[in-house]
């Protein structure tokens, strides 16, 4: 891999953000709205139950973690969509840039942009709603890393779908986190779900993260077996997502999709 070429992919996104600060707004605004909405709901529920349960930590913390995964995913896919929207595929892929360098550049961009959202979320959650991350402890950090990798995995999968099915399939990508969220038990234990949904949930690494969060809040400490399961699954999915992207890229090279998308808008 050539670091200069990876840097070029990141620099392109930096120029876009610097040239049009409006692009920063969705990275911060939506998560801020979520924090406000769920922050007040948590506060209301805490008052209603006489503070017998820490709703702020359970609900607001869960929303924050889920939004973090969503932002990481959208950071990767949005960077890719910028090339779709500006019909830049031909310009990029007729250069020495490799698909691995391109993907790495997208992932770095996704990480950097999602950090902005994370900072906004943490600021609001701690200063306005008094969410203290000390209640989770450092044990949650490796689980958060699993969420981070989950976001990257979904981002790569999303870009593969758009590369395979064309610019118009972009609308399939945005709702992916919303479709997954009921299965991973963001707000409730998997046991709440019907068996078929539980089976799907157990195959998704974020389920173990939210379970671990609830374990910690209940004073039971983290379940390291769950962490091992989540880590194993996400490594498999991450490798699979990259292989899928590489396969789709080879398909696009065989069928001429890259040249075609350069002449096609998301109509």
């Amino acid at each position: 891999m050539n670091p200069g070429r990876i840097f070029a992919v990141v620099v392109r996104q930096f120029y876009l953000l610097r040239g049009s600060p409006v692009r920063l707004l969705p990275m911060i605004a939506w998560v801020a709205i979520d924090m406000v909405l769920w922050g007040f709901l948590s506060r209301y529920l805490t008052e209603l139950t006489g503070a017998r349960f820490n709703f702020t930590a359970a609900l607001l913390g869960a929303v924050l973690l889920w939004d973090f995964l969503t932002r990481v995913m959208q950071g990767v896919t949005t960077a890719f969509f910028e090339d779709v929207w500006s019909r830049n595929f031909l310009n990029l892929f007729a250069t020495p840039l490799t698909v691995l360098e391109y993907l790495t550049g997208l992932v770095i961009t996704g990480v950097l942009t999602s950090l902005l959202g994370l900072i906004a979320m943490l600021t609001l959650a701690t200063t306005v709603f008094g969410l203290s991350f000390f209640v989770y402890g450092a044990a949650l950090l490796p689980f958060v890393f699993v969420l981070f990798l989950s976001g990257i995995t979904l981002g790569i999968l999303g870009t593969a779908i758009v590369l395979r099915f064309g610019p118009a399939s972009e609308w399939l990508i945005w709702p992916i986190p919303s479709v997954i969220s009921p299965f991973v038990g963001v707000f409730y234990p998997l046991a709440t779900l019907p068996l078929w949904m539980q089976a799907i949930g157990r195959a998704l690494p974020p389920s173990y993260v939210f379970d671990a969060m609830r374990h910690i809040l209940a004073g039971q400490g983290p379940d390291w077996g769950q962490l091992a399961m989540a880590a194993g699954l996400i490594v498999i999915y991450l490798v699979a997502a990259f292989l899928i992207f590489a396969g789709v890229y080879r398909y696009a090279m065989r069928t001429g999709l890259i040249a075609r998308y350069s002449a096609e808008t998301a109509g």
Partner: protein, 251 residues
């Protein structure tokens, strides 16, 4: 200085299902040579160019750029090329200078800032360096595309209708710049165009493509003479008409 070909295309064939888009095409481009690739719509020009650009895999055949097999050592081969087409403008939401920097980084251009300054001056873009590329006129955008195409001093330059959609004066200016740059760097050029006047003016050699095959090739004036046509355009129309009606033409 070597005269080994900068581009060698051997028995290139591309099929999409039962449809044969390119059928056993072979040709070479030598350093400093400008080769025109012409033919009617659907002849296989864009498919051929896409394969030489490395964005479309051939069904069979080989493309060598500066002696390097494009589909075995893609990165190494594409370091020696660049391209410009009116149909793939650079991202309009980046400024001229930002576009040149991004692509300069991708091509690993040494002393990039100095190279950018030189190209901005060469292509009369100094006043537009901070302008978003999408806000420029067609002619200015073509100049930006060409500046990008020259960033890495390519040994092979692929130009797909570089003067499409621009006025005759600007088109002549652009042709002059390309010919001068090709001569200065002894860069081989593969140039597709539907403008036969342009092809006659700039190309050392012309390849007539029809139904995925090269029907004839040679120097523009010699081809016109040999086939008893008044101009290259007349010859083009004759060949295109014959290939459409009977599907064959003797070279």
């Amino acid at each position: 200085m070597t005269d080994a070909p900068v581009l060698t295309v051997s028995n290139l064939r591309k099929t999409f299902g039962d449809f044969v888009a390119v059928d056993g095409v072979s040709f070479e481009v030598r350093p400093g040579e400008i080769v025109g690739l012409v033919g009617p719509n659907g002849a296989g020009k864009t498919t051929t160019i896409s394969m030489v650009l490395g964005v479309l895999r051939p069904s069979t055949g080989e493309v060598r750029i500066n002696g390097v097999d494009l589909f075995k050592q893609r990165g190494k081969a594409l370091c020696h090329t660049n391209f410009g087409t009116a149909y793939a403008p650079l991202p309009g939401n980046l400024t001229v200078e930002q576009n040149l920097r991004v692509f300069g980084l991708i091509y690993g251009v040494k002393k990039l800032q100095a190279r950018i300054e030189q190209l901005l001056a060469d292509y009369d873009l100094l006043h537009h360096r901070k302008t978003k590329a999408g806000l420029l006129s067609s002619g200015e955008q073509t100049r930006v595309t060409l500046a990008k195409a020259m960033l890495n001093h390519p040994k092979l330059l692929l130009l797909d209708e570089p003067t499409a959609s621009i006025d005759p004066a600007t088109a002549r200016d652009i042709r002059t710049r390309i010919v001068a740059a090709a001569a200065a760097d002894r860069c081989g050029v593969l140039w597709t165009s539907h403008n036969m006047y342009e092809v006659s003016e700039v190309c050392d050699r012309v390849l007539f493509l029809s139904r995925g095959k090269i029907l004839m090739q040679g120097e523009p004036e010699a081809l016109v003479r040999e086939h008893g046509a008044a101009t290259l355009e007349d010859l083009f129309i004759e060949v295109a008409h014959e290939s459409l009606t009977d599907g064959s033409h003797a070279a």
